[in-house]
Symmetry: C2
Subunit: 408 residues, 2 copies
């Protein structure tokens, strides 16, 4: 008998009918002989409705009270899902975060889980009940209600799976797994049966929004097996595993891309010690996050400096750097918001040479100019003009044979 | 410095604007030098919205989960009101029933309060904070969320006032006090400055819906001073007091009436021991509540039996009694739903004769036939044809001079 934690997001529990549907899925898992803990989000739209109410009182509300308010969203769902399970004849009991208890620090609206008391949940499982837990919330040492911030329901699922040593943590979403790339761009993109945690982290950080990156990190830290499945279709989904030494790894697992970045280049900066700090310091001080950074030696003891920021911050960053460029005596400052980052991700890269050269050759053959390159152990990212996004992704998907399942 | 408990119902907190308005009233009480505990209901419409959701899952839901669901209604209000107070610069902190903690038994959906832990609330008051408590809810010994049933927010207010020995429990509603009778029937009905608990209990039980009868009983039991005020207008409201021996009591305080009853009469029942039980037993077994009961000796060793039930139960009761009447050999069974009960209430009746005769004389002068009479120590009720309701109430209001304030 296995212990399974299942997490259902807001869309999956968005109406009484959908909640009945989730109840049937949970009951099927229970009837297959498993113990089941279910973690649920607020019904879709509910959290926004509550936030809208609070904005009408105070655009910057007291955060302790904000958490008391939004925590009601998940509480409604646990009650309705437990009612649905009991109605189907499947004994179930709901728990708020405070009832479990999921102990957090007191950082209202983005609290971190410190400990989980498993006694109550364990007793209910032993009594044959399904345990339904409110995601996204807990309580601090003093009993104040806290929330984990957006996406926190995934983290609740993983944390419960870790605390109770569950065999698997299943994250139900509106997609049926992790794909080699976005199927809207590459129609023959393929669902992966498994992907490693490291790859999943890279995919998530590069803009593939299947799982919250924080919950993936959390799962990795506590060695929790994660599986991504669809709430609306049957299927095995994608299992997120630890890298197994002897497993035959495909060269690369997927292609991620990100349209949210913009590029800034400062050319002909006199090359002195501390120049990187002088350029990036003021940008960081303005709370602008920097992603890729490249510095090249230019002509005549000058250096060229290029980096990317979120598109929303592009104009703000350029304004700050206009002043910096003058102070440093830089030759030129320019920005480009019409770029995308395309990344190959795969643990197989570690032991195989030639991935980069195949990538560059493929892009060259399509006439796509590479503007920036950055690499990590299991990832190669390039920045190209936005108009080439689809062409680049399709060509690379094809070049690495991602549409074909790897040989077993 | 006084400790004031204020309770605001669903209409008073029905929108963010109204919640801001309540926050201003609370802050004014605090700034006048009082410690303040505020008890709030769910925003009007919210509880019904939640019940509607639960009905879509299960018309007879698991009651533990039902309580988890509906308790979110008040939790939303405490968060929003605390936000509003903090925004106005009045430090405030919210508490769910479980956080206080308000310990109840485990009778889900109509739990009873067993104990209130005053430590947390007291500490916040001492720190200069307004304490905002969710009405209508608590938690049982095991930490399960419970609700007190409809109208329970008044009870929460009174229970907190009793536990913390508050100087006054103020119930804010959409009327500005208790009136001598319904102002919609008698335009010159007068707001009472004070009324005794006993009178208030009679008024409530007779259909004057200003306060929940359970909260009035509770206040009387623990000697909590209650005051009824309007959320929307300024004014002293009505203070509900204990009878003071030397206080000059008016003869009667108010006139209550009830249109929700229907009359059933069984004539010519052979008079045997146990006949009352044979008639009323089957009605009680069908969960039909009986209000007034009158039994007269009829002709020829028979008896006539008349009683009233709620109008909704009238047809059901008649159907049951049709069978009973045949078994008992009664001469006739008839029902009349077009009746009303009109009641004079006043502790002054105890020490003054002549109230009944003034009442009967007044009704006779207006040509109103009395169908039933029943009396208690501080109340006289008569049943008359429904069409005479307004005439009867106005004539009695006038006859007893209720539009004039009693001499001080």
């Amino acid at each position: 008998m296995a212990l399974i934690v299942q997490k259902y997001g807001g869309t999956s529990v968005g109406s009484p009918e959908r909640i009945m549907n989730v109840a049937r899925k949970v009951m099927a898992t229970k009837q297959a002989g498993n113990d089941v803990i279910v973690v649920v989000s607020a019904m879709s739209g509910e959290t926004n409705r509550l936030i809208e109410l609070s904005k009408q009182i105070d655009p910057n509300p007291d955060l302790r009270e904000y958490d008391v308010l939004v925590a009601t969203g998940e509480q409604v769902t646990i009650a309705l899902l437990s009612m649905a399970l009991n109605k189907l004849g499947c004994p179930a009991r709901s728990y708020t975060g405070a009832q479990v208890r999921i102990l957090t620090d007191s950082t209202y609206s983005k609290a971190r889980i410190l400990d989980i008391d498993e006694a109550n949940v364990r007793a209910d499982l032993q009594a044959g009940r399904v345990v339904v837990v409110a995601g996204f919330q807990g309580s601090d040492e003093q009993g104040n209600i806290t929330t984990l911030g957006r996406g926190g329901s995934d983290t609740t699922g993983v944390a419960l799976a870790a605390a109770l040593k569950a065999d698997e943590c299943q994250i139900y979403t509106d997609v049926d797994g992790v794909y080699t790339t976005d199927p809207r761009v590459v129609p023959n993109a393929r669902r992966l049966d498994r992907i490693t945690f490291e790859e999943m982290l890279e995919m998530a950080s590069l803009g593939s929004k299947v799982l919250q990156i924080r919950s993936v990190e959390f799962a990795g830290k506590y060695s929790v097996k994660l599986r991504v499945l669809s709430s609306f279709e049957e299927g095995p989904g994608t299992l997120i595993t630890y890298e197994e030494q002897n497993m035959e790894q495909p060269l690369i697992s997927g292609i991620a891309f990100n349209r949210d970045e913009a590029k800034i280049t400062m050319l002909g900066v006199p090359d002195q010690p501390g120049v990187a700090y002088k350029i990036l310091g003021p940008v960081g001080d303005a709370n602008i996050e920097i992603d890729m950074i490249i510095q090249n030696v230019g002509a005549d003891a000058t250096t060229d400096f290029t980096f990317t920021v979120h598109r929303n911050d592009h104009q703000k960053a350029l304004k700050i750097l206009d002043k910096v460029a003058k102070e440093l005596g830089a030759r030129e400052l320019n920005g480009d918001a019409n770029i995308v980052k395309v990344s190959l991700v795969g643990v197989g890269m570690r032991s195989h040479a030639g991935v980069a050269s195949t990538m560059f050759k493929t892009l060259a053959r399509e006439g796509i100019n590479i503007r920036m390159i950055s690499t990590s152990e299991i990832k190669i990212s390039v920045v190209v003009d936005e108009k080439y996004l689809e062409l680049a992704v399709r060509a690379l998907h094809d070049a690495f044979g991602l549409d074909k399942a790897p040989a077993a």
